[in-house]
C-alpha cells in the first residue's frame, strides 16, 4: 500500500526535488489505541509545511516520531532519501533536525547566549579547553551574530537572563537556537500559541527568514491565519493519518477546518494524491 502512495506522492515536490524528510506507513499504538495509523509525511526543500489536525488526531505523535521523541512501532523515516531511525531526540538533532517545543523551550534563569548553546557549549582551545573551560566570548559573539542575522533586533543585551524577555522574545531565542544548529530542517510545535498578535507576526517573520535561508520548516499549529500567512503547503491530519496535503492558495481557511473535522473530504484534484 505504501509503495503505491510513494509513486504517486513523493515526486510531486514544489520544485521537483526529492523530499528532505519523509515517512511512509508510520504506526504507533498505545495498547489498543493507535496514535498514528499508517501515516505518511513529506517535507520538501525550501518550504514551510504546516501540519494541522484536531486535538487527538495524532499530529503531535507524528511530529514526535519525526523528531526522535517517540519510536514508531513500524514504518520508515527517510532523511534525504536515506532510511534513518531516531532512538532519541539527541539522535535526530545530531542529524540536523532541530525542534522548537511549544513550552519549556528555554531555561529562564540562564542568559540568552547560554541558552543558545545549552548542551552544545563551545570550549576554549588549548589547556583551558582540556580543563573544560567554556569560551564565553565566542558563544556570545556567535549568539549576537545569529540574532542579528535573523533580524531579532528587540533583544539588545545577549547577557540578560531569558526570564527578563517577553514571551515572543523567548520564542525567538528558541527559534534562533534551532536555526543555528539545524542543518536539515526545523520543527516548530505551536510556536505562536502563547503569543499576542504582534509577537506572532514577529515569529512568522522569523519562520520566513529561516525558510529563505534554505532550511525547510515544519509548523504545527492551530492558528489558521498564521498558517495561511507563511505555509507553502498544509498537511492535514485526521484520525491518526495524513488525509491529504493542500495548497493554501487554492483552498480557504474554512475548507481546511472542514478537512480537519471531516466535514468535507479533500477533493482529489486539490490534494497531492496522498489520500487513499
Amino acid at each position: 500500500m505504501s509503495t503505491v502512495k510513494e509513486t504517486h506522492g513523493s515526486d510531486r515536490s514544489p520544485n521537483n526535488t526529492g523530499p528532505v524528510l519523509s515517512a511512509r506507513g508510520l504506526v504507533k499504538r498505545y495498547g489498543n489505541v493507535a496514535a498514528i495509523r499508517d501515516s505518511d509525511f513529506d517535507l520538501y526543500p525550501g518550504e514551510v509545511l504546516a501540519v494541522v489536525g484536531d486535538n487527538g488526531a495524532g499530529k503531535s505523535s507524528l511530529i514526535k516520531a519525526l523528531s526522535g521523541a517517540l519510536i514508531p512501532d513500524s514504518g520508515s523515516i527517510m532523511l534525504d532519501g536515506n532510511d534513518v531511525r531516531f532512538e532519541s531526540p539527541a539522535a535526530a538533532r545530531r542529524l540536523g533536525i532541530e525542534t522548537v517545543y511549544q513550552t519549556l523551550a528555554v531555561a529562564p534563569l540562564l542568559d540568552i547566549a547560554t541558552n543558545l548553546f545549552l548542551g552544545r557549549e563551545l570550549r576554549r582551545g588549548g589547556f583551558l579547553g582540556k580543563l573544560r573551560v567554556l569560551d564565553r566570548n565566542a558563544m556570545r559573539e556567535r549568539a549576537r551574530q545569529q540574532l542579528d542575522s535573523l533580524g531579532i533586533a528587540t533583544i539588545q543585551d545577549i547577557t540578560q537572563p531569558v526570564e527578563t524577555l517577553s514571551g515572543g522574545q523567548r520564542q525567538a531565542v528558541a527559534v534562533a537556537r534551532a536555526a543555528m544548529f539545524g542543518s536539515k530542517l526545523v520543527i516548530m510545535d505551536e510556536p505562536t500559541a502563547a503569543l499576542g498578535v504582534r509577537e506572532t507576526s514577529h515569529v512568522l517573520d522569523l519562520i520566513r527568514r529561516i525558510r529563505d535561508r534554505g532550511l525547510p520548516v515544519v509548523l504545527i499549529s492551530h492558528d489558521m491565519p498564521a498558517i495561511f500567512e507563511v505555509a507553502d503547503r498544509i498537511h492535514v491530519h485526521r484520525l491518526g493519518r495524513r488525509i491529504g496535503v493542500v495548497d493554501p492558495s487554492e483552498v480557504s481557511m474554512s475548507d481546511v477546518v472542514a478537512f480537519i473535522t471531516g466535514a468535507k473530504e479533500i477533493p482529489a484534484g486539490e490534494s497531492e494524491e496522498h489520500a487513499v
Binding site: Y101, A107, L109, G119, E121, Q160
Partner: protein, 332 residues
C-alpha cells in the same frame, strides 16, 4: 540596562542599584554581613579584633564546607538534610580505620570516598526514581545517623594526631593574621567550585537542571546524570568537611553537628541561593556561612543563651526563604 538611557535620572539611579543587586547576588548578603559585624563590634567590647575575626571564620569552616555541598544540591532544586550526618559518619569511619592501623592517607581517602558513595545513593534515588529530595535525604539522615551510632558503639573516638588533625594547625598569614590550614582549604574549595560552576558546561547544566529541568532535558542534556553527579560531588565535599571537623576538635563524636543540616541550609539561603533551584551561587553561600558564624559568635559574646541563638537562626532562614519567594513571584 540599555533602556535606562531614556528614563528620568531618579528612576535610572534606583534602576541601576537594582540591576547591580540582581546581577551580583552576593552583594545583598555582603551588605548584611557588614551590618551584623558592625553591630556586634559596637555592642560588645570583644568582637572587634583580628583574633576574634579569625576565630569566627575558623568556627565556620565545617558549616562552610557543608554549605558548599548543600549549595550544589539546592541549585538543582534539591535539598540535603543528611549532609552533616554523612560528614559525622566520615569522622568516625576515618578515625576508626586509622586507630585500627590504616595509614592516615588511606583512612582519609576511604572516608571521603565513602561520603561520596552515600550521597550517590541519595542522588540516584532522586534522579532515577524521581523521589523528592527532602524525603530521600530525611531517610538518609536517619539511616546514616543510626549506622554512625552502631559503628561507633555510641562513644566518642579520639582522633590520632597527624594528618587527620593537620587542618586545625594554626599559622600566621603575612606575619600577623592568625589562620588555620583548614581555613585555607575551605577558601580553595570555594574558589574551585565557583570556577567549575561558572566556567564549565557542567556548571551551566547544574543551573539549567535546577531552573528548568524539562527544557534542559529537551536540549539533549542527560539531566539524571547531571543530578547524580551533583550529589556525588557534594558528598565528597562532606567528606572533606569531616576532615575539617577532625582538625577543629580532635574527637570524632557521633552526636556532633546535629544542627549542621539546618545551619548549612541557612547559610545557603541567606547567601541568596533559591530553594527553587537554578538561582544563586557559592559566593553568596560563603557570605551566608560567615553571617551565621558572626551571629552565633556575636550573640554568645553578648551573653545570649544558645536557645535564643537557635531561635534567631530559625527565624533568619524562614525570613530568607520568604524573601526569595516574594522576589521570585515578582519576576515570574
Amino acid at each position: 540596562m540599555t533602556q535606562s538611557k531614556m528614563m528620568p535620572p531618579e528612576t535610572r539611579q534606583t534602576d541601576r542599584i537594582r540591576t547591580l543587586f540582581a546581577r551580583s547576588p552576593a552583594l545583598g548578603p555582603t551588605v548584611a554581613l557588614v551590618i551584623v559585624t558592625l553591630f556586634f563590634s559596637v555592642v560588645t567590647d570583644t568582637f572587634f579584633s583580628l583574633d576574634n575575626f579569625s576565630a569566627v571564620i575558623n568556627q565556620s569552616v565545617v558549616i562552610g564546607a557543608l554549605a558548599l555541598g548543600q549549595t550544589l544540591v539546592i541549585l538543582t532544586a534539591g535539598i540535603d538534610l543528611a549532609n552533616a550526618a554523612i560528614a559525622v559518619f566520615g569522622t568516625i569511619l576515618i578515625t576508626k580505620l586509622v586507630t585500627q592501623g590504616s595509614p592516615p592517607v588511606v583512612g582519609l581517602t576511604v572516608g571521603v570516598i565513602a561520603c561520596g558513595l552515600i550521597a550517590l545513593v541519595s542522588g540516584t534515588l532522586v534522579a532515577r526514581l524521581k523521589l523528592p529530595p527532602f524525603i530521600v535525604t530525611l531517610g538518609m539522615l536517619a539511616v546514616v545517623t543510626a549506622v554512625t551510632n552502631i559503628y561507633s558503639g555510641g562513644t566518642t573516638w579520639r582522633v590520632p594526631e597527624g594528618l587527620l588533625t593537620w587542618l586545625g594547625r594554626q599559622t600566621y598569614l603575612f606575619g600577623g593574621i592568625p589562620m588555620t590550614y583548614g581555613m585555607g582549604l575551605v577558601v580553595v574549595l570555594y574558589v574551585v567550585v565557583w570556577a567549575v560552576l561558572s566556567k564549565t558546561a557542567w556548571g551551566r547544566h547544574v543551573y539549567a537542571v535546577g531552573g528548568a529541568p524539562e527544557a534542559t532535558r529537551l536540549n539533549g542534556i542527560n539531566t539524571q546524570r547531571t543530578l547524580i553527579s551533583v550529589y556525588v560531588v557534594a558528598g565528597l565535599i562532606y567528606g572533606i568537611a569531616a576532615w575539617l571537623a577532625m582538625g577543629r576538635t580532635p574527637t570524632a563524636d557521633p552526636n556532633a553537628y546535629q544542627t549542621g543540616n539546618l545551619d548549612s541550609i541557612t547559610a545557603v539561603v541567606i547567601g541568596g541561593t533559591s530553594l527553587f533551584g537554578g538561582r544563586g551561587g557559592v559566593a553568596g553561600t560563603a557570605v551566608g556561612a560567615l553571617i551565621v558564624a558572626v551571629l552565633r559568635s556575636g550573640l554568645t559574646q553578648m551573653g545570649i543563651d544558645t536557645n535564643y541563638q537557635n531561635l534567631a537562626t530559625g527565624v533568619l532562614v524562614i525570613a530568607a526563604v520568604a524573601f526569595d519567594q516574594i522576589a521570585r513571584r515578582r519576576t515570574a
